[in-house]
């Protein structure tokens, strides 16, 4: 008789985990129960802005996400796990159901973090994480009016693109001196800032949000920035980072990382040998990753452990990202900020400053450690695949299409 594997969360990483496990578990030693909080199966969250542009939900669906043809997986939608009883090895759900597990994989993801500025919870304030969020934004959008996105990171710019697709005039408020500060250096950020401006998105960098201000009807009617600027708007989207969903940890007596997340080892295992965590809710050796690729590596690792393999501990994750938005292309890969000891930077700017490419090289100048592309990211795939390898030839040739 097979054991029961319970998965809490059905996002992109949770789904990848189940698919990996099913692909490896040829003798069906596991029966899988997936507890999904959202009312729909896992979908491609990275392309939410396409939904905002009007693409049907089906376009975002992930292959096999409803497990219709897989009798080894039971998917319970709109089912929220509220407690883990480790002694009884049961997960208690909000609907009262109890699900017994032999192994439990936490793939609960993150929730948006909204800074506690005055007015942050007024009607008219939104976050940008789920299909439901996008539906709410679509309903609230007013073409021709100003929309304000708080947070100029990857998701914030996606949200700005979504607002623009809905006919609004997006402003983006970013506290750092340039957009996408986690991924881009100053030069790349400058190109991105210029280009989004040309495309009708108004960035406000190096200035924080002071408050969201209510109109007479009690809904958001403007925002005030730290420098005193007031932007009239009835639609505010917060995209100011995420926090791991680890609220089940405390009751269950599981450790969390310093910045939250279920504390797991290099094999994604918690201190309880029957419980694992993957994706954004996992703090691998204490560190959380808000990107899907490291989550995929975790999913693969746990799937192989549960099917009797002994994978190598997770290596340093790949944090490369690419943004293609409104015709602006930027990418960041590997050690984009040249933090490796002895690293040097080789920077090429052309096209009146419209194209910026930085390669981070090791101390010998021949091994690629990372880089930043802005204005043209056509060489991203190639460069990313060369990370940690010697350059095949002169940088200009590699950046070829970008020059």
């Amino acid at each position: 008789m097979s054991n029961v594997l319970v998965v809490i969360g059905h996002g992109m990483v949770g789904h990848r985990f189940v698919r990996e496990l099913r692909a490896r578990d040829r003798d069906r030693s596991w029966r899988v129960v997936v507890l999904a909080e959202e009312p729909v199966p896992a979908y491609d969250r990275l392309h939410l802005s396409e939904r905002a542009r009007g693409a049907p939900e089906a376009q975002l669906s992930l292959p096999g996400a409803d497990f219709a043809s897989d009798d080894g997986v039971e998917l319970r939608l709109a089912t929220r796990a509220v407690r883990i009883d480790r002694e009884a090895r049961e997960v208690l759900c909000a609907d009262g159901a109890r699900v017994r597990y032999d192994a439990l994989v936490l793939a609960a993801g993150s929730r948006p973090f909204v800074p506690p500025v005055p007015g942050h919870d007024l009607p008219g304030c939104h976050v940008y994480r789920t299909l439901a969020d996008v539906a709410a934004i679509r309903a609230a959008a007013r073409p021709g009016r100003t929309g304000v996105v708080v947070g100029g990171g990857l998701l914030g710019l996606e949200a700005a693109g979504a607002l623009q697709a809905l006919g609004m005039r997006p402003h983006v408020v970013e506290g750092a001196p340039w957009l996408m500060p986690l991924q881009l250096d100053e030069g790349g950020g400058a190109v991105l800032g210029r280009q989004v401006t040309e495309l009708g998105v108004a960035p406000h960098c190096g200035v924080g949000l002071k408050s969201v201000d209510a109109g007479p009807d009690g809904t958001a009617s403007s925002v005030t920035l730290a420098d005193g600027t007031v932007l009239d708007t009835s639609l505010v989207v917060f995209s100011t980072g995420v926090r791991p969903r680890d609220e089940l940890a405390a009751d269950a007596g599981l450790n969390t990382g310093e910045r939250g997340g279920f504390h797991v080892d290099g094999h994604c295992r918690t201190a309880d040998e029957r419980i694992w965590a993957v994706g954004e809710c996992a703090a691998v050796d204490g560190r959380c990753f808000g990107l899907v690729t490291p989550g995929y590596r975790m999913a693969e690792s746990v799937a192989s452990t549960l099917t009797g393999e002994t994978p190598a501990p997770l290596s340093d994750p790949d944090l490369s990202t690419e943004l293609k938005l409104l015709g602006v292309a930027v990418a960041s890969f590997g050690d984009a900020h040249a933090r490796t000891a002895g690293a040097m930077e080789y920077i090429h700017t052309s096209g009146a400053g419209d194209r910026y490419a930085k390669l981070v090289l090791d101390a010998t100048g021949n091994t690629l450690l990372g880089g930043v592309l802005a204005g043209d990211s056509s060489s991203y795939g190639r460069l990313r695949s060369l990370l940690g390898h010697r350059l095949p030839g002169a940088p200009e040739g590699l950046l070829g299409a970008a020059l």
């Binding site: 920077i347 090429h348 700017t349 052309s350 021949n366 190639r382 010697r390 030839g393 940088p395």
Partner: protein
């Protein structure tokens, strides 16, 4: 200039005897100028290499070693004699020894004087600098900089940096006070400036940046942030002001230098100006110091001896004279259509090339000695830069791996597919990008590896063709 203007027997009077004047009279003799040449040199010394003054400060060179070769035979050289007035109507230069010198051509080469910052404590009622406050413009000034006590240099130009390094070489404790964000801020971008600052700090120079000096007493210089720095001596290196007073009182057009055209003529066609006292047409704030002065002297010598030589197109070069720091600035970044930067903070090396039509129009190079030589050559000759700029800047090509695709690279990060995985799928019969995707799931995630997948597919085809051939 037409031939009619030129009379080889013209009497030429040169006011000033610095490097520019020296080069001029040397070239005039070389070109066989037949007329009388009179030089009025204000300093008691004959002309010397002013740019090397800091080598006298640190004792590398005795002061005599700076002396330029003697003036050519026949040149009437009056040392310790200052031109005091020009009578343009009668074409006479008056000098402070009471004599007058008739000219057909007057060349103003009066140089520049140290520019003093506008700080109240510097300007006593007697017009003299306070005791202990010095400048560095002449050989005389170097003697006062001997000693071992702490010294503070005020300023942020090339002379300030060179003086700081020379004084450190003497073993003196040195503080540099500069109101800008980093030394050489007129010449360097912030990144190069940061590196330069780090290099100076590593040489135990105490940098006080963004600061001005408020008061000086009892061997202490008080800064505007309240800090007091030790300063037995204060050396002002706060720039040089063109000595254009003679031209001004003669009624010539002057504004921070004597205006000259492409042929180094002032608004009086019989009066020329060269060197630090001249202000050529073109963008203000040019630099290049002695190289520009020499170019001007050579151009003027050609023009005054009847050559229709096209005016030299100046390619300004600034090279710091300090063995601790290889630092060069060439040209200017304006109008560049391409910029290449190599930043090697770990080894204190930096380069910024500004290219226009694939030629160097501006550059800043720090600590990359081989690149400095190569880039300066390309810049001076106006030659195109090689395709591999990384190799140019590093001084040698890195060991490139070649175009062979390595099997252990991760081609698709979403699905964790390596080149070796793709090859296995190919061997198993997946012969198109779509088939490779189906077999390995590569390119089913974010899709950014699509081009790479096609590149690998092409590579497999090529390898097979190579084998069958």
């Amino acid at each position: 200039m037409s031939d009619a203007d030129v009379d080889t027997a013209e009497r030429i009077v040169v006011a000033g005897y610095g490097p520019a004047a020296h080069r001029l009279v040397e070239r005039l003799a070389h070109r066989g100028h037949g007329g009388a040449v009179t030089v009025l040199g204000a300093e008691p010394e004959p002309a010397y290499q002013r740019p090397l003054l800091t080598s006298v400060v640190d004792g590398t060179l005795p002061s005599g070693a700076l002396r330029l070769p003697a003036a050519p035979e026949g040149v009437r050289l009056l040392l310790g004699v200052t031109a005091t007035a020009v009578d343009r109507e009668r074409r006479l230069v008056h000098s402070d020894d009471g004599r007058s010198h008739p000219y057909d051509r007057l060349v103003l080469a009066t140089g520049a004087a140290p520019r003093l910052p506008d700080l109240p404590w510097l300007h006593g009622s007697d017009g003299q600098l306070p005791a202990g406050v010095r400048v560095l413009r002449t050989l005389d000034d170097t003697a006062a900089l001997a000693g071992a006590a702490p010294v503070t240099v005020v300023g942020g130009g090339p002379l300030a940096v060179e003086a700081v390094l020379a004084l450190r070489r003497l073993g003196r404790d040195v503080t540099l006070v500069h109101r800008g964000p980093y030394p050489l801020d007129r010449h360097l971008d912030p990144r190069a400036g940061e590196l330069l600052s780090a290099r100076l700090r590593a040489l135990d120079v105490d940098l006080c940046l963004g600061r001005t000096a408020r008061a000086y007493a009892d061997g202490k210089l008080r800064l505007d942030d309240g800090r007091c720095v030790a300063a037995h001596d204060v050396l002002l290196c706060t720039g040089a002001a063109p000595r254009d007073g003679l031209a001004r009182s003669a009624g010539l057009a002057v504004d921070g230098g004597v205006f000259v055209d492409d042929e180094l003529r002032t608004d009086d066609p019989r009066v020329h100006a060269i060197g630090d006292c001249a202000r050529p047409a073109g963008p203000a704030g040019s630099y290049g110091g002695h190289t520009t002065a020499w170019e001007q002297a050579e151009t003027l010598a050609l023009l005054l001896t009847g050559d229709d030589f096209p005016p030299a197109r100046s390619r300004p070069v600034l090279r710091l004279r300090a063995r601790e720091l290889d630092l060069v600035r060439l040209g200017a970044p304006d109008g560049a259509d391409e910029t290449v930067v190599l930043a090697d903070a770990a080894r204190g090396r930096y380069a910024r090339l500004s290219l226009r039509d694939n030629r160097v129009c501006g550059a800043v190079l720090l600590g990359l000695d081989r690149a400095i030589a190569a880039v300066a050559r390309l810049y001076q000759r106006g030659e195109p830069v090689p395709a591999d700029r990384l190799a140019l800047l590093l001084g040698a090509a890195p060991e490139y791996a070649g175009e062979e695709l390595p099997g252990d690279v991760v081609v698709c990060h979403c699905s964790n597919v390596t080149g070796t995985d793709l090859e296995a799928a190919w061997q198993a019969g997946a012969r198109t990008p779509a088939a490779l995707t189906a077999a390995t799931r590569a390119s089913t995630g974010c899709g950014s590896c699509g081009d790479e997948l096609r590149r690998w597919c092409t590579e497999f085809v090529r390898r097979e063709e190579a084998v069958s051939a």
